[in-house]
């Protein structure tokens, strides 16, 4: 049997009614293994105006590089208290935030290890389907070998790598259009 996937529609401006009950900005409780990271960012549109009605979702492996999902059959430890999911709804300044742990590497095409990354899905009014992108970590030598970063034109790659700020938090902004536009995937 072959069916066709249902057509995507915009999340619209009233997403908070349906999605706010499960904001997950603190993704890793005490005791979850791995390096703690705080990620802060803003979303701006083609005029540089903040996007105050977006939902940003994270999906990530645990600190050992294993996803909390039955199809990840790697021989690495699972942690019952870490789901690997985050959801942040942007505020009036277009800002979102996550406190989590840096994931371990996971296998990529041909079994080649991928650099630690967070999968990011973004929904907002004005998008008829989600944007799919990734956050990579600054100064990680594995980035140079990452098979997905390698698909991105060199001058745009930095849009997927968070920047470490003076206070240690990681900054990763989303630019929807223009010169410094964030790389989005055809998924």
């Amino acid at each position: 049997m072959s069916l066709r996937a249902s057509t995507s529609q915009t999340i619209g401006p009233y997403l908070r009614i349906g999605l706010e009950w499960m904001q997950v900005e603190d993704m890793a409780s005490k005791g979850v293994a791995g390096e703690r990271v705080s990620i802060r960012g803003r979303i701006v549109d083609g005029d540089g105006k903040p996007v105050n009605d977006a939902a940003v979702e994270i999906w990530q492996a645990n600190g050992h590089g294993r996803y909390a999902h039955a199809d990840d059959k790697q021989d690495k430890p699972l942690e019952a208290s870490f789901r690997g999911y985050g959801r942040s709804l942007t505020d009036d300044s277009g800002a979102f935030r996550f406190n989590t742990i840096k994931p371990g590497g996971v296998p990529g095409p041909g079994g080649k290890l991928q650099a630690p990354h967070l999968s990011v899905t973004i929904f907002m009014r004005g998008l008829l389907k989600q944007l799919q992108t990734r956050i990579y970590f600054p100064d990680d030598p594995a980035n140079a070998q990452d098979p997905i970063l390698a698909l991105i034109p060199g001058e745009r790659r930095s849009t997927l790598i968070a920047r470490r700020t003076a206070d240690g938090t990681l900054e990763w902004n989303v630019v929807l259009q223009g010169k410094n536009e964030t790389v989005f995937f055809d998924f």
Binding site: M1, L3, Y14, A68, G126, L127, L128, Q177, E181
Partner: protein, 235 residues
């Protein structure tokens, strides 16, 4: 071996980012080329939710306050399948909608229609092992928006579904049969394939209609399916 990738969308059945008839896409659609993403372990897995997150009562939008909401009670149910026809069990479905008067319980909705103190308009369900979901609600009203002169949205319910892989994540809207506003709506008409559009419309369902209580509407949702055979270097 690499995981079997999810199928790429069938021609004209999924919207493009830039769709000028929906004015908000102009400043928000990406302008640079997209990069084709291979489906790795990161893309074929997804967050898993359980009954610790979702309670059975979360699916009845008519019982969230002291009194009964105004409007026509409806039962909205259906199945979540993938493109291979397999049910998608145990996934989180979230819905939200306007009240019977066409007003959202939200600070940015300024439409001059009454808020219903007995209706929030949000619900959740975990699909069962055959992929079924079911909500009790009231029929949402149509409402004006400012996309173009005299623009009105057809009655709809927003649906968010997680899926078993990140590539199945879907947010969409369910419409009602016979709504005269559908043909004028830039969201409903955002794809060229007429059959794809029509699959967003629920059907009246006598079987799930509750005698002397609520009308039944049935709507099946299809998430992307995996390619049946893994292939090397497939884009």
């Amino acid at each position: 071996m690499d995981p079997a990738p999810y199928r790429r969308p069938y021609w004209n059945t999924q919207p493009e980012y830039l769709f000028p008839k929906y004015a908000s896409t102009l400043k928000r659609a990406p302008s640079q080329p997209l990069v084709v993403l291979p489906h790795t372990l990161s893309e074929v897995t997804a967050p898993v939710f359980g009954h610790d997150t979702v309670k059975a009562s979360d699916s009845d939008l008519t019982k969230q306050h002291k009194g009964e909401p105004l409007g026509e009670r409806i039962v909205v149910s259906g199945r979540v399948l993938d493109e291979n026809g397999k049910p998608v069990p145990n996934i989180l479905v979230e819905i939200w909608q306007a009240n019977a008067a066409g007003r959202y319980n939200h600070r940015v909705d300024q439409h001059d229609a009454p808020i219903d103190p007995n209706f929030t308009g949000a619900g959740r369900f975990l699909t069962d092992k055959e992929g079924h979901y079911r909500f009790m609600s009231i029929r949402p009203g149509e409402y004006p928006w400012r996309n173009h002169h005299n623009a009105w949205r057809p009655a709809h319910i927003h649906f968010s579904l997680f899926g078993q892989g990140l590539m199945q994540r879907l947010i969409t809207q369910m419409y009602f049969p016979g709504d005269p506003l559908l043909d004028y709506d830039p969201m409903f008409t955002c794809v060229a394939d007429e059959k794809a559009r029509n699959r967003l419309i629920s059907s009246f369902d006598w079987e799930t209609t509750l005698p002397e209580y609520a009308l039944g509407y049935r709507w099946d949702i299809v998430l992307r399916g995996r390619d049946q055979t893994p292939m090397e270097n497939r884009r």
